[in-house]
């Protein structure tokens, strides 16, 4: 049987429907798993994504982009292929894309995590013959704790900083991680300030009905003295730059799966690292692959060759594939973005 999806220089291509999934070079028709910049590139003729992902994509791709929405689970025929979008648990609106051609089912999962985060639509396993999985944290050293524990640790850290008379500045992706933190913290501890890139995404999400606590945008005029006991949610890249000068004496932290590694915590020179990721950990990746029932597995971005070898030993027909997806990095406001939004 012919391959339902193929890995090309432009992205993941479906010959039967002549569309691409998360392409990184301009194509006519793009099906997009979620709004992070390494999956939703600009320059495509038209886009199809979940209705919940559309507002952020509109915000990021601009008014000219041709966007179309689809509900989770809704089946749609494109050429010789039937497609549907299913929750990936990565960020609000994120999806795995199921593609069926002549009874053969492939699933491209984009970025995903299997554990709930209190904000995103929970991950839903989709049965398939071939599964395309990421492997950002595809090593057995990565094991996340339940999100409630890490949330409680953030509250405790914020409370201690507030009691100390210092602002608490946490670095997190502008799309997803930042809102996940906002939605979970105990907002009664103090005021919450946000970096512009975070606040822009907040505005989009509030408009689509996602409930977030009140936040104050940091501007050049912001004086931290006017906001005692504040939590500041920044992008990872802003934390390393001049933007931080307005928060002298701040307690600093990063929220990332990479914080599981001591060396990375130290490189960031933050006081604290919260191990919090929107990507699956080692047990999550393994559970997800098993739950699909797939026999063929394609491993994209991350520890691709290691995870693929492990899967082969577990009896899968698995191999790594080259893509331009970036997974979770530590230095961008979001995956795939080089510069900060204003």
């Amino acid at each position: 049987m012919a391959d339902v999806l193929r890995f090309t220089e432009r992205g993941i291509h479906c010959p039967a429907g002549d569309f691409f999934i998360d392409p990184w070079r301009p194509v006519d028709r793009a099906l997009v798993t979620h709004g992070h910049a390494d999956h939703a590139h600009d320059g495509m003729g038209r886009y199809l994504a979940t209705e919940a992902a559309l507002p952020v994509m509109r915000h990021r791709l601009g008014p000219e982009a041709v966007l179309e929405g689809i509900a989770y689970g809704e089946r749609r025929r494109i050429g010789g292929a039937t497609v549907s979008f299913h929750p990936a648990g990565h960020v609000p609106g994120s999806a795995q894309i199921r593609v069926e051609v002549g009874g053969e089912v492939w699933v491209a999962s984009g970025d995903y995590k299997t554990a709930p985060d209190g904000l995103s639509e929970p991950f839903e396993p989709v049965r398939c013959h071939a599964f395309i999985t990421e492997s950002t944290f595809g090593l057995p050293v990565f094991k996340w704790r339940p999100f409630e524990e890490e949330n409680a640790a953030i509250d405790a850290w914020w409370r201690a900083a507030a009691a100390d008379g210092r602002p608490a500045v946490v670095g997190a992706y502008a799309l997803g991680k930042a809102q996940r933190i906002l939605a979970s913290v105990d907002a009664s501890i103090g005021p919450i300030l946000t970096h512009g890139a975070v606040e822009n995404t907040n505005a989009v999400m509030r408009a689509q009905g996602i409930r977030l606590p009140d936040t104050i945008r940091v501007t050049p005029e912001t004086r931290i003295k006017d906001h005692p006991g504040a939590l500041v949610v920044a992008t990872p890249s802003a934390m390393g730059g001049p933007w931080m000068r307005r928060f002298p004496q701040a307690a600093t932290a990063f929220a990332s799966g990479w914080m599981a590694m001591r060396g990375v915590r130290r490189r960031r020179a933050a006081d604290k690292g919260f191990v919090m990721s929107d990507h699956a950990d080692w047990p999550g990746l393994n559970e997800a692959v098993a739950a699909t029932g797939a026999t063929r597995v394609f491993v994209t971005h991350g520890y691709t060759s290691i995870f693929a070898r492990w899967l082969r030993e577990q009896g899968y027909d698995a191999r790594p594939v080259e893509t331009e997806y970036e997974g979770e990095t530590l230095d961008s406001p979001d995956p795939g973005t080089a510069e900060d939004a204003a």
């Binding site: 090593l139 050293v141 390393g240 060396g263 006081d271 331009e324 530590l330």
Partner: protein, 532 residues
């Protein structure tokens, strides 16, 4: 162990001095006495020896984690630390134990005497008892590799605050030979017997690099200058009829340099000299290249042949103890007069030599002397204020090192490898090449000198420009030129290029240079002829 793990986490979580000192002070005030002693020992590099072979640990950990060994081995270089890799791959502990730090150390030391099967059972039991940082520290202790990000200076400061004893005095009390099993807190820290350890050295005074022009130091007449010799900093302690040689890393290296025994003939008891151990050409009266000294450093016993090929001398910089008295507080000029008086009686072929003061009129004059350092086998010049005491640890103000600028070549990046530990996920380890006719010949590896932002950019570029993969190494398209700086060059038959560099690092990313303008192997050979 919980209390010690808390201390470790507090120290590890910050790079700022005040919170580190505060955490240590609190610990020294309330931890049990044996734990305090062990903590001082661990923080000053007195670690218990490794009790379990690392290969065994990897196998046991992989099995306990339910993963194949190869997967453990793949994870280890990415985490960058064996103790941490084990900590992370194992399942959560099923039990808890309430053992102190010293209790764990006793248990770990007892492992050495156990047969392998029992040793394994005991380690597995410990892993199933300890979680998180405690498990990490246990692993560090059994592998004999615990390091904590606290300088001796900070620890001394915290002990001073906790005990009310002066910091410099604490620093001195902690030097030399002692072990937590043989001392009490009282005898080590509070009221030590000064004659208890005749070999005890003084803390070394270390200088910072002078980055600004020396004009900022004021009147040149207030300053003394000498060459900065390129060897191992050492301290010769002559007391009680014996002699001891200490390295800057507080390692006793007396046995590695047996020629120093001759110093007993002309250095009187009650003398401590600070200097540089150098491999020495007695005929020329000049140092041999550092590479020759290197042949001696690793050897605990020295064959006769090596003693003749690379004889060592201590080139004296300073005197710290004279006639049994600590003279560190006296001005440099006074100490220097004592040292010169002492050296007058020393024969020319002795393993002790004086580092001469450099006569200079003004800063320009000294700059010219500095520029000629490399030809003399020196790394640059040292500047010491004539009225300065001999301080302890690395301090700014009275002493500066003013090293010569590094040698440089422009080279092409040809291989890249991901970093580990603090640089996991970034391509940070690069191999550089120079032109040899039409070919690029690799000659150096470097992994420091770029900013995090530059590493991030080069990482993105490497991902898109990989030509081939050899395990973790990627061959990349020759495109980027970097200025590589290094401290020295020597001939090396083991390297394809025929040369080996000392401390190569990236000085600049030369975006302005096309690869055709990189240096050639011929250029390197010329440098070798001039400075090798």
């Amino acid at each position: 162990m919980k209390r010690f793990a808390q201390l470790y986490e507090a120290l590890d979580a910050t790079t700022r001095v005040l919170p580190k000192v505060a955490a240590l002070k609190a610990y020294f005030e309330d931890a049990p006495e044996r734990d305090r002693l062990w903590t001082v020992a661990l923080l000053s590099g007195r670690r218990p020896k490794r009790t379990v072979n690392a290969t065994f640990l990897r196998e046991w950990a992989a099995r306990a984690a339910g993963i194949p060994l190869w997967l453990f081995e793949e994870s280890y270089p990415i985490v960058g630390d064996l103790a941490e890799t084990i900590q992370l791959v194992l399942p959560d502990p099923s039990r808890t134990a309430d053992l102190t730090l010293s209790g764990w150390i006793d248990r770990i030391r007892a492992l050495a005497a156990l047969p392998e099967a029992e040793r394994r059972a005991d380690v597995l039991d410990a892993w199933d008892t300890l979680g998180g940082t405690e498990r990490f520290l246990f692993n560090k202790l059994i592998t004999g590799q615990l390091r904590v990000g606290v300088s001796q200076k900070l620890m001394s400061r915290a002990l001073a605050q906790a005990t009310g004893i002066e910091e410099a005095e604490i620093a001195h009390r902690l030097m030399g030979r002692w072990a937590p099993d043989d001392v009490t807190w009282d005898a080590l820290i509070l009221t030590p017997d000064p004659s208890a350890d005749l070999s005890r050295p003084y803390p070394f005074y270390l200088a910072y690099q002078l980055d600004d022009p020396p004009e900022g130091l004021g009147d040149p007449a207030a300053w003394r200058a000498e060459h900065k010799w390129d060897g191992i900093r050492g301290q010769l302690v002559r007391r009680g009829g014996e002699h001891h040689l200490w390295s800057r890393g507080e390692e006793l290296i007396t046995d590695r340099f047996p020629e120093m025994a001759a110093t007993r003939d002309f250095v009187p008891d009650g003398t401590v000299i600070d200097g540089e151990v150098l491999a020495w050409d007695h005929e020329a009266g000049a140092p041999l290249p550092f590479a020759r000294l290197q042949t001696r450093i690793g050897r605990k016993t020295v064959p006769k042949k090596l003693l003749q090929e690379a004889p060592a001398v201590l080139r004296a910089y300073d005197v710290l103890e004279w006639q049994g008295r600590d003279v560190r507080a006296r001005p440099f000029d006074e100490r220097r007069a004592i040292l010169e008086g002492l050296m007058e009686g020393v024969p020319k072929d002795a393993p002790l030599d004086l580092s001469r003061l450099l006569a200079f009129e003004g800063w320009d004059d000294l700059a010219a002397i500095r520029a000629g350092s490399r030809a003399l086998g020196a790394e640059g010049v040292m500047l010491k204020r004539g009225d300065s005491p001999y301080r302890d640890g690395r301090r700014k103000g009275d002493w500066w090192k003013w090293k010569v600028d590094p040698l440089t070549v422009d080279a092409v990046m040809i291989y890249a490898q991901q970093g580990h530990g603090r640089r996991a996920g970034l391509f940070t380890d690069f191999t550089f090449a120079v032109w040899n006719g039409d070919e690029l010949t690799p000659f150096a590896k470097a992994y420091s000198g770029l900013t995090d932002e530059e590493f991030r950019r080069i990482t993105a570029w490497v991902r898109r420009n990989t030509l081939e993969r050899y395990g973790p190494v990627r061959a990349v398209r020759p495109h980027h030129v970097f200025e590589i700086g290094f401290e020295g060059i020597q001939a090396s038959p083991r390297h394809k290029s025929g040369v080996a560099l000392r401390f190569p690092r990236m000085l600049r990313w030369r975006h302005d240079k096309p690869i055709a303008e990189a240096n050639t192997l011929g250029d390197l050979k010329e440098m070798l002829a001039a400075y090798g």
